[in-house]
Symmetry: D3
Subunit: 61 residues, 6 copies
Amino acid sequence: MPVVKIEMWEGRTKEQKAELARVITEALVRIAKTSPEHVHIIFEDVKKENWAIGGVLSSDL
Amino acid sequence: MPVVKIEMWEGRTKEQKAELARVITEALVRIAKTSPEHVHIIFEDVKKENWAIGGVLSSDL
Amino acid sequence: MPVVKIEMWEGRTKEQKAELARVITEALVRIAKTSPEHVHIIFEDVKKENWAIGGVLSSDL
Amino acid sequence: MPVVKIEMWEGRTKEQKAELARVITEALVRIAKTSPEHVHIIFEDVKKENWAIGGVLSSDL
Amino acid sequence: MPVVKIEMWEGRTKEQKAELARVITEALVRIAKTSPEHVHIIFEDVKKENWAIGGVLSSDL
Amino acid sequence: MPVVKIEMWEGRTKEQKAELARVITEALVRIAKTSPEHVHIIFEDVKKENWAIGGVLSSDL
């Protein structure tokens, strides 16, 4: 049943997402006692110009 | 006042979204006693490679 | 696969949520061609003092 | 520590987002007593056909 | 039309939220050219034990 | 920079959350090449009556 939403700057490859999905799902199964088929992980690729830190768009840092 | 966020795999047409919006808004008005102009529904089209189930990206299933 | 998040002012009963869940899931199955067991609907009850419209907390309207 | 997510119709320029980020971060620092480097603001540009109000997609209004 | 979600550690008062809502709505109206009655701001008070930074729950920092 | 939101049924202990936060942050640092202090993980404990699967509230399953 867990739903995990991961927001990151765009640029992560499909291989990185696949490995993250595998490892995070294993952690949820082992630690939170859920079954793997109930774990949904959604990646959201955020453009740097859409993410501000400290009041400045990351594309301007 | 309700805000509804619907995350689905990409591929749903504009017609499908329009019908979903209509039906879900009617349900919220009838069941949750709100007025239609206060119902916001936001669709988010998620690429299959950005959605993992059971630890595997849906694009690899 | 759809994940639906519904944010509403608190106060909706369990019966209202149950009916909303049933109707919205049916709509997603019929219109978006998914199977019911893949539809997750998450309700979030928001206190009026945590929801502002027009710059004013709803608890102050 | 605050994380702010702003969903708007697409079309806002980078300059508008930069100014929003600056002003909202200043408000959070001044009013919520946080330090600027801990404020994350994420913009999400939503297509009008993905945002329904009153049961109608905004692209059809 | 903008929907703003603000996640912060719990502890902010109703007065702080009211001022944040007023200032952020004004910024959205002035900079993003929307009308105030369309601005929704939702605050989410997050317990420190539900927010990890650097791999450590904030309640343990 | 990643922000991770984890929605689960309530009932997970503080110890489980602490271990999940540690393991998921390590995975993000190793696989997504970020630094640990930039990883924010937010847990949201959802009541079973607020989470429907297959059109039925989990509290009624």
